[in-house]
Each structure stands twice: as structure tokens, then as C-alpha cells.
């Protein structure tokens, strides 16, 4: 790369470089980044393609429209819980209690709606507040007492399961029949609305990306070549239109009752993805989360309140976990005493790590939760279709998590060797 830098360039300071000049060069730069260990979304996208090919050949129902819609609703809670964990992982911490914290919150919602006849809006708000309160307590203990988050959240993992049992009764469950909550996973947008949404998302992304590019060029800031920006827009457009196309087909096995349209959980994930991408990438708070994850001492010397960042991150995590378990309640139609326990959390951590978020802190994006969550959901879904015993599901998912963590550790070593 260095040989293309010349003094004759319109450089702000000697050897300043504002653009990797051509598409070819940016592709080369990308390849050398990947070889240097900065793989980003590559492993999860590659894994997803492999899984689709394998399951597609193994079972002819896997690629059916019905199963694709199922896959997306199954992935919903995993993706949202993984998104909850991304900021925590960015700090280099872990929240083992996120799943059961969400379980307690969903219980609060279920009990308020079913046993106390409260409106759904109030019940959801109460659930989110429960999540936030749990997160604040965890954050305070981790930040102020300095106990490793692993230990604190392990204690909460056990304790909160007791709280769920108390709220809901031994072995009991609360059915979620309320239209709006059940509809998140079970109702679909109209076909027309789905298309409008898809086109609107693409158009908004394209306009924003092109405007940003123009502004950067105008101000002489560092920017990517236009071709790369356009390629990104095209790629996002193709994926979005493809998903919309599949989901807008009739996927019912009964010809008398057509089912088509985008399940509401998908736009919900899109909104959350935009929200978290914005919060982590464009706000001071997000910048400080990365800073604390990268070097807490440097963050402290820069005047950042490290404790406040930690507490806010744990609060955000548990609040998002509440949302995840509300969606899970919608998918399964009930809140039970085991909501959020079991492998929910492991799936979510696996999803974030497979997506490219580092367990060592400082590196990761909200979108990692989406790609990684799809990988985890695809494994569960595909193995389920193959009628495999559930032990295989556990073994395979555990293996994938271990593989993702190994990729993370190895790529981290390569990054520190190559300085990326």
C-alpha cells in the first residue's frame, strides 16, 4: 500500500492518504485485512452459505418458503439476545444471566397480562423496566465492587431462576394469547407493506451511504472508492429483495389458507439493528464502550467514567434480554418457569462470537448478532428437520461455539502480530 503514497497528492500532512484509489486496491486491502486476522462477518456468512447448501441437499423441505419463514421467527429471539450481549462482550465482560433476566421480565409481562388483566403495553413496559433494574444491579456490583462479571452473573443466573419459579409457580407456565404479543412471531405484514418496507430500507440505506460518501469527498476526508459504496448498496439490496421475495410467496401447505408476508419479528429486528448500529457507532456512549473495552486505563485517563459505562451496558443488556424473551414468548406462545434458562444464553453468546464479536473485548458490531444468530438458528432448524436426536443439536451447537471462539482467539493473535 505504501508505494502508492506520493508527496504530490493533495495531502493534509506528509504522506496523508484519504482514499485507497481504486476498487482493485480496496479489494486487495480487504484481503490483506482478512489474512491479517480481521475477518469481520466473513466466517458467519461463509458458515451460513455452507449450512444452507448442506441442509438444502439433506432435506428438501429445508429451503421451502415455509421453513425459511420459520427460520426467521426462530432466529428472532436468538438475534435479539445476541444483540443484547454485544455491548457486554465489547467491554470484555460476560452476562451469563441475560437469558434468565429476560425470563423474569417476560414472566412479569405474562403474569400482569394474564393474572392481573393489565393492558399489553403496560405489561411490556413493566417487563422492560424489570430487565433494566436487574441490569443496573448487576452493573453496580461489577463496577463498584469489582467482582468479575462472570461470577456476578452466574449468581444471578441461579438466583433469577428462583425468582421466575416464585412468580409463575413450580413447573407452571402462562399462555400468551394477547393479539399483539402473540402476533410478533405469528402474524405477517401484508404483501404490499412488505415490498414497500423492503424498498424503503434499501432506498434509505442507499441515500445515506451516498450522501456520506459525497460529504467525505467534499471535505477531503478519508473515504472508500465509490465503487465499494455502490457494491455494498447492491449487496444489501439483493439480500433484502431476496428475503422479501421468499417471504411474500404463499408458504402454506394447505391451499385453502394461504400464508404470506413478512413476519413482524423481522422489521422489529431491523429497527433494533439500526438502533444499536447507531448507538455503538455514532454516539459518544458507543465510542466510550469501545474505548473501555480496548483499554480501560486509557479511557479513565481520557476522563471517561468507566463505571458509568459498565453500568449502562449491563442495563442495556438486560433490557434487550427482556425484549428477546418477550419475542420468545410470542414464538412459543407461553412463558414458562424455564424461560431463558437452558441453552438460550449459550446460543446468544455463540451467535455474537460467530458473527465476529470478540470475547476479549473492544471488537464487534450489532450486525454480528444477526449473522451469527442466523447461523445458530439454521443449525437448530436444519438438524430438527433431519429428525436428529436433540443430543446431536447440543453437540453440534457446542462444537460451533468452540469453533467460533477458536477463530476469535486465533484471529486475535494474528491481528496483534500484523497490527490490525
Amino acid at each position: 500500500m505504501t508505494d502508492i503514497i506520493t508527496e504530490s497528492e493533495e495531502a493534509g500532512f506528509a504522506s496523508d492518504l484519504t482514499q485507497s484509489n481504486t476498487l482493485g486496491e480496496s479489494v486487495q486491502a480487504y484481503i490483506s485485512r482478512v489474512r491479517g486476522g480481521d475477518m469481520g462477518a466473513l466466517p458467519s456468512v461463509f458458515g451460513l452459505v455452507v449450512l444452507f447448501i448442506v441442509f438444502g441437499f439433506a432435506n428438501d423441505r429445508f429451503l421451502s418458503n415455509l421453513n425459511m419463514a420459520n427460520l426467521i421467527t426462530q432466529a428472532g429471539p436468538i438475534i435479539i439476545l445476541a444483540m443484547a450481549l454485544v455491548p457486554v462482550l465489547l467491554l470484555g465482560e460476560i452476562d451469563l444471566s441475560a437469558g434468565v433476566a429476560g425470563g423474569v421480565a417476560a414472566c412479569v409481562m405474562g403474569v400482569l397480562m394474564v393474572k392481573h388483566d393489565q393492558p399489553w403495553g403496560l405489561a411490556v413496559l413493566a417487563a422492560l423496566a424489570t430487565g433494566a433494574a436487574i441490569g443496573i444491579v448487576i452493573g453496580l456490583i461489577v463496577a463498584k465492587l469489582g467482582i468479575p462479571s462472570f461470577v456476578v452473573t452466574l449468581a444471578f443466573f441461579l438466583g433469577l431462576q428462583g425468582v421466575t419459579l416464585k412468580l409463575i409457580g413450580e413447573g407452571g407456565s402462562v399462555r400468551i394469547n394477547q393479539e399483539v404479543i402473540a402476533g410478533i412471531a405469528n402474524n405477517n405484514m401484508s404483501v404490499a407493506a412488505g415490498w414497500i418496507l423492503a424498498v424503503a430500507v434499501i432506498a434509505a440505506y442507499a441515500v445515506l451511504a451516498l450522501l456520506r460518501h459525497r460529504q467525505k469527498v467534499a471535505r477531503g476526508l478519508q473515504h472508500q472508492p465509490l465503487a465499494v459504496v455502490v457494491a455494498q448498496i447492491v449487496a444489501l439490496g439483493l439480500v433484502t429483495l431476496g428475503v422479501a421475495l421468499v417471504l411474500n410467496q404463499n408458504r402454506s401447505v394447505n391451499p385453502n389458507f394461504p400464508i404470506k408476508g413478512i413476519p413482524y419479528v423481522l422489521p422489529m429486528i431491523v429497527v433494533l439493528l439500526i438502533l444499536w448500529t447507531f448507538a455503538l457507532g455514532r454516539t459518544t456512549w458507543g465510542r466510550h464502550v469501545y474505548a473501555v473495552g480496548g483499554n480501560p486505563e486509557a479511557a479513565r485517563r481520557a476522563g471517561i467514567s468507566v463505571d458509568r459505562i459498565r453500568i449502562s451496558v449491563f442495563m442495556a443488556c438486560s433490557t434487550m434480554a427482556a425484549l428477546s424473551l418477550i419475542v420468545q414468548a410470542s414464538v412459543s406462545g407461553k412463558v414458562s418457569s424455564s424461560s431463558g434458562a437452558g441453552n438460550a444464553l449459550l446460543y446468544a453468546v455463540g451467535a455474537a462470537v460467530i458473527g465476529g464479536t470478540s470475547l476479549f473485548g473492544g471488537k464487534g458490531k450489532a450486525r454480528d448478532a444477526v449473522t451469527g444468530g442466523l447461523v445458530i438458528a439454521t443449525i437448530a432448524n436444519g438438524l430438527g428437520l433431519l429428525n436428529q436426536a436433540s443430543w446431536i443439536n447440543f453437540v453440534v451447537t457446542g462444537g460451533v461455539l468452540l469453533l467460533a471462539a477458536s477463530v476469535d482467539a486465533i484471529s486475535r493473535r494474528r491481528r496483534s502480530a500484523t497490527g490490525l
Binding site: 503514497i5 493534509g12 504522506s15 477531503g220 478519508q222 465510542r287 474505548a291 485517563r301 491481528r415 496483534s416
Partner: protein, 276 residues
């Protein structure tokens, strides 16, 4: 050995030297600092002049770090005067020192490796447009700061700090002080971990920083570096100022004597404002 390595003090316009010599930007007078029974600093006087590099030398345990931390507001001083621009001020914390325009570049550089140069330079003091980070302004200003120091080694302001060499990281840390219009920059062993070429770059940078009117305090073990870039040398010996001299008036051997024994037998008494 002295003047030949000293491009600035000789050809510098005389009026600047006399003006700055008469008015220290920052001055400590009779500073005492104890930790319990350990009396670390005894009546220390220190002056930092605008446009000059003042070197603070001394052996391990001489009190250099304590003195720097007192300057930075990390340790409160027990007795003595903290004078900034001729006015006594009270500095009770790093924020007070920061408000006066005193920036410390620590030995362990306190940069976040996972963030890029612009993000590091603005860390904790981000520019915002409402709720949103103002990346445009931050990138332009970071570029301006690096330009003003004629930085040659950094490829792009958007590369991550992890990809920078030790010298480049030092450059970023120093450029940060330019960005924030610092009046006084304290550099703690800036060349300790660097190779020959990188040391060269950082020393050039230190010189340019001082030439822009900033008062620089350079804490260093390396007398070659000190003689190359410093205008004045303050030597600490067991918590006392052994000498405060112009670099051109002393030899390397004399400074070694000051550091190791606290006095130099053949040092001209008139060159030294304080001798023990």
C-alpha cells in the same frame, strides 16, 4: 558536543529567548511532598518556559515521577507555590491541570488500540452534532494537528492504533496535546522504548512542539536525547534540585555528576541557580 547538537538555542531570535527567560509559563516554588514518613520532594523549584524544552533528569527514586504527578494534579502538594503565567493557582486534580492547558503524555501511552487515530485523539472530548458524533470535524482537526507537526510517518488518520509503531503512537499522543491547544506538555520518557530512527522522529517532534510556543517538560534518562533537544536542564538528586542550568553551559559529564552525586565540582556557579 553541546552547541553542535543544538540547532535552536543558538540561532533563535534573541528577543524571544530573553522574553521567555524572564517569564516562565509554569513555575513551582519551594515544593515539598511527603508520603507518610518519606519526604520525597524538598523545596523543589522548577520553571517551564514557553517555546523551550526543559529537561528533567535524575536517577531512579530522585522524585521525577512524583514531581510530574504534582504538576499534573494527581498528587496534591504539601507546601509550596504552583504559579501559572505569573499567578499562583491551586491545582487539586488532573481536571484543574487540564483546564490550565497542561497535558501529560505518559510513558505507557494510554491509547486504545482498537480505536483509530482520530478516535484516540478525541477520546473523552468528542465533538458532537446534537446526539451524533461529528466525525467530519474531528477528522479534519486531527489532520490539522498532525499537519502542524509535519508528521511524516502516519499513513492515514483512520488507521487503528494497533497498526502503529511505538514512535507513531508517541506521535499520536503528542499530537493530541497540539489538538487541545495545550500550553504546557509534560513528556514522560517519550523515547524510552524506541529505536534509533523513531527516537529521531519523536525528538524532532518535541522540538517542533516547543517551537510552536508550547512549554515542554521532557523527563528522560537518556542524556543524548536531553542534550539534543533541551534548552534547559533541571537535575533532581534525592528529591532536591541539584542544578537548573542552560544546556549550552554544561557538559554531559557534569550532568552525570549532578545526577549521581547531586553536585558537580567544576560546574560554573553562575550557570547554576540552585546548588546543594
Amino acid at each position: 558536543m553541546l552547541s553542535s547538537h543544538h540547532p535552536i538555542s543558538d540561532p533563535a531570535p534573541p528577543e524571544r529567548l530573553t522574553m521567555s527567560a524572564s517569564n516562565p509559563l509554569l513555575e513551582l516554588r519551594g515544593i515539598n511532598k511527603s508520603f507518610g514518613v518519606a519526604h520525597v520532594l524538598h523545596d523543589v523549584d522548577l520553571a517551564i518556559y514557553p517555546g523551550q524544552v526543559t529537561a528533567l533528569v535524575g536517577d531512579n527514586g530522585a522524585g521525577k515521577s512524583t514531581l510530574v504527578k504534582c504538576l499534573a494534579g494527581i498528587y496534591p502538594i504539601d507546601t509550596g507555590e504552583y504559579v501559572f503565567e505569573g499567578k499562583p493557582v491551586s491545582v487539586h486534580g488532573p481536571k484543574d491541570a487540564g483546564a490550565l492547558g497542561i497535558e501529560v503524555v505518559y510513558q505507557d501511552l494510554a491509547l486504545c488500540e482498537n480505536l483509530d487515530i482520530v478516535e484516540n485523539m478525541f477520546l473523552g472530548r468528542e465533538k458532537k452534532n446534537g446526539l451524533v458524533l461529528d466525525e467530519t470535524t474531528m477528522e479534519s482537526k486531527a489532520r490539522e494537528a498532525l499537519t502542524s507537526l509535519s508528521v511524516r510517518t502516519v499513513k492515514s488518520v483512520r488507521q487503528s492504533v494497533a497498526s502503529l509503531s511505538g514512535g507513531q503512537r508517541q506521535t499520536v499522543a503528542i499530537a493530541k496535546s497540539v489538538l487541545w491547544n495545550s500550553r504546557v506538555v509534560l513528556l514522560d520518557e517519550p523515547t524510552a522504548a524506541l529505536g534509533v530512527a523513531q527516537t529521531r522522529q519523536v525528538l524532532d517532534l518535541v522540538r517542533r512542539l516547543a517551537d510552536s510556543g508550547v512549554g515542554v517538560l521532557l523527563i528522560s534518562h537518556n542524556l543524548t536525547d536531553v542534550f539534543e533537544v533541551a534548552d534547559r536542564i533541571t537535575a533532581l538528586y534525592l528529591g532536591r534540585v541539584a542544578a537548573d542550568v542552560a544546556t549550552k553551559d554544561v557538559t554531559s559529564r557534569q550532568v552525570v555528576e549532578l545526577i549521581t552525586t547531586g553536585h558537580s565540582s567544576d560546574l560554573d556557579a553562575s550557570a547554576s541557580s540552585t546548588t546543594v
